[in-house]
């Protein structure tokens, strides 16, 4: 994984000092709250319902064991002993004191971490495929390109006061595990003309997003050469910075600009800006990309038939619970004998994405012992050990099982994405977490979770859609109806390569009613499905009507 050199470290250290100075000037009254707010936001500090929230960046979701331990230390020292992993592969702490923020940033900087640009109207942390560098189906590791974009976007002087926030995702596989087309810019690394072994380049999808106006990004350029990647991105941003709407914050995202101009006209403007920029020296030396790639070289994988590094009793491998976990929570790896193992942060009845300091330390230990000291944060709010030798899986599972981290529910109905909702968030209209808890408990009790197979359920507590409800096979949106929480159900969304936006079934439900409604929709699927069909496939084949009849008939 990427490690800082003295340049990177000096920049992060300077940022800590800058923020300390800004806090001092705020306290001295030299900065008004209006002037201070965007500065603290660009250091990840939000004012929530009950306290400050600090969002720490995990660039492209990759972190080392030492970094995970530092996150655990921060949870204990400055928060309530836990943290919350987010849908943008970051971690949030929900009970932070403003006066501690400078010290937390300094602690983070000591392990090459920061909270730079995790909020505010700027280019946010770059996200990527959580199985990058491991997945059997990837073309190349997408993270070197994400790292190059991280450097480019950090402290970018022209793009710190954009019309609105700006999110970029990079993938390099035909399978989309990063909701790439639902980002402001989604980049897929491809071979020219799709020819095997062809020159690598970047496909640009611009203008996707969720929020109150969900849109799927159109492809505006099929192939940007890698030695023009940054220049093209800069052109995309400049057109947005100049022409994105600033009169209405709800119409300020780039998706609205692309939609109002039309993808063709936006592309034309980008191309004109790009042509102009080509001789402006925007592009980094290609040697930098090559330098970055060396950090993402494969670890020294063991032979496929090598024995386990642990003393775990052989009988563990035959336990049904272990086998179910391996079936459900591991992903094929490019190296023979290896898998990527998903650590579920979705225990039945738990808070999606939360992990305690002890759990974080355990995950760090497992990464160090069995996973080349590397972890990933998934946008689905779970953690991955990307490179685990199959012979070590019993020991990994045993340790996870002892810490409440072995729920075998990856991509099943219990693996719910939920925003913090009205329990924490000042924007929310309704609670998300209790609904997620009730649904996971209901399906655990009925035992239907395993039978339902892949069924992605996502819950947002307001129309800002942080819980990705538009992209759920089943989506739930909490709204406020005359002072009472009400939940709208939608079906048919997908954030994968078959990206689709979910459609609302009809009138909303009460908190109890929505749990019944989800079960009703699941039962329609179980009744109607044909061999091998996922919920989403059945919905696409039979349409909304049978679901509506069951829900409202």
């Amino acid at each position: 994984m990427y490690r800082y050199d003295s340049y990177d470290q000096a920049m992060v250290d300077a940022r800590v000092e800058e923020f300390r100075d800004q806090c001092r000037r705020r306290l001295e009254g030299k900065l008004t709250e209006d002037q201070f707010k965007p500065l603290r936001l660009m250091n990840g500090l939000y004012l929530q319902l009950h306290a400050y929230m600090l969002r720490v960046a995990v660039p492209y979701g990759t972190l080392g064991g030492d970094q995970m331990r530092a996150l655990a230390d921060i949870a204990e020292k400055y928060d309530r002993g836990y943290g919350h992993f987010t849908t943008r592969q970051n971690i949030q702490y929900n009970w932070i004191k403003l006066e501690d923020a400078g010290d937390i940033l300094a602690d983070l900087a000591s392990v090459e971490m920061h909270a730079i640009q995790t909020s505010g109207n700027c280019i946010r942390n770059i996200s990527s495929d959580h199985f990058a560098g491991a997945a059997a189906d990837e073309l190349v590791d997408p993270r070197p390109y994400a790292e190059l974009l991280r450097q480019w976007s950090s402290f970018h002087p022209e793009f710190a006061y954009l019309p609105r926030k700006f999110k970029i995702a990079v993938i390099a596989s035909t399978t989309d595990r990063a909701a790439m087309k639902l980002h402001d810019i989604g980049i897929r690394i491809v071979e020219r003309d799709g020819e095997q072994g062809g020159e690598l380049g970047a496909q640009f999808y611009v203008g996707g997003g969720m929020g109150r106006t969900p849109m799927i990004a159109p492809c505006i350029n099929e192939f940007v050469p890698l030695d023009r990647l940054i220049t093209y991105a800069e052109a995309c941003l400049r057109v947005y910075n100049r022409h994105g709407r600033r009169d209405n914050k709800y119409k300020a995202r780039i998706k609205i600009l692309v939609h109002e101009l039309g993808a063709e006209e936006y592309t034309r403007q980008v191309d004109a800006e790009y042509a102009h920029m080509l001789d402006q020296g925007v592009e980094p030396p290609f040697a930098e990309l090559e330098r970055i790639r060396t950090f993402f070289a494969d670890p020294e994988f063991r032979a496929a038939d090598e024995a386990s590094a642990s003393n775990e009793p052989a009988k563990t491998a035959s336990e049904p619970a272990f086998q179910r976990w391996v079936r459900r929570n591991t992903n094929p790896h490019k190296a023979p004998g290896y898998v990527s193992a998903v650590i579920s942060l979705k225990p039945v009845g738990g808070i999606p994405g939360d992990a305690t300091a002890e759990q974080m330390r355990l995950m760090a230990d497992l990464a160090e012992r069995y996973g080349f000291d590397e972890l990933r944060v998934m946008h689905t709010q779970n953690i991955v050990l990307p490179h685990v030798h199959q012979s070590d899986l019993p020991a990994v599972w045993r340790a996870l099982d002892g810490a409440g981290l072995s729920t075998p529910n990856l991509d099943q109905i219990g693996d719910i994405i939920a925003c913090p909702g009205l329990d924490y968030c000042s924007l929310a209209n309704a609670r998300s977490i209790p609904v997620a808890q009730k649904i996971s408990e209901r399906f655990e009790a009925s035992g239907k979770g395993e039978a339902l197979g892949e069924l992605k359920l996502k819950i947002s507590g307001c129309i800002n859609a942080c819980g990705h409800h538009h992209a759920g096979h089943i989506g739930i949106l909490g709204v406020d109806r005359k002072g009472v929480e009400n939940y709208q159900l939608s079906l048919g969304g997908s954030e994968a390569e078959d990206t689709a936006l979910a459609k609302i079934t009809g009138p909303g439900f009460s908190e109890e009613g929505i749990v019944d409604a989800v079960e009703t929709a699941a039962d329609v699927y179980l009744r109607e499905r044909t061999e091998g069909e996922r919920f989403l496939d059945t919905y696409r084949r039979i349409g909304m009507t049978p679901f509506k009849e069951a829900l409202y008939g």
Partner: protein, 159 residues
């Protein structure tokens, strides 16, 4: 890259003495021409100073840059970042005259403005000289190229 502008070591007071809050990072004398709107500037052959508002098209000035003595870029609100792009566009087009940020110009945006090519500042509220100095000395390096002459980290790594 646009031609680098001449930098002096620090801000100078305005030779005209009409504005005590003016910060300049140029060695030449401050322009004192009254700035007109972009539309007026394009129409009037004798205008020498122009003020760009956030919604204006900075590129309309490019054919007329030879006679421009001063470009003011207005920031009615510090959170409106269009002026940063306007500044870079003019520097990229070769403009090396005075480029002045005016309006809601605050110390925490100064370093980015310098990087985008601004070399003078006329803030609505005067800035603390110590804070300005600290802000401009803050960053040991830069990650990306802009309109200033700083060498990006990714170039230094491979020099």
């Amino acid at each position: 890259m646009a031609d680098p502008v001449t930098h002096s070591d620090g801000p100078q007071s305005d030779g005209q003495g009409h504005n005590s809050g003016l910060l300049r990072y140029r060695d030449d004398k401050a322009a004192s021409h009254a700035a007109v709107t972009v539309d007026a500037f394009v129409d009037q052959d004798d205008a020498l100073a122009v003020r760009i508002e956030p919604g204006d098209e900075a590129r309309e000035l490019i054919p007329h840059l030879a006679r421009v003595k001063l470009v003011e870029v207005n920031f009615p609100a510090f959170g409106d970042g269009r002026g940063y792009s306007a500044a870079r566009i003019l520097r990229e087009a070769g403009y090396d005259g005075e480029l002045r940020a005016v309006g809601d110009v605050l110390v925490d945006q100064l370093a980015y403005m310098r990087r985008c090519g601004f070399d003078s500042f006329d803030p609505d509220a005067p800035l603390d000289a110590g804070d300005v100095e600290a802000a401009l000395a803050r960053w040991p390096d830069v990650y990306q190229s802009a309109a200033d002459d700083r060498t990006p980290i990714w170039t230094k790594r491979h020099a």
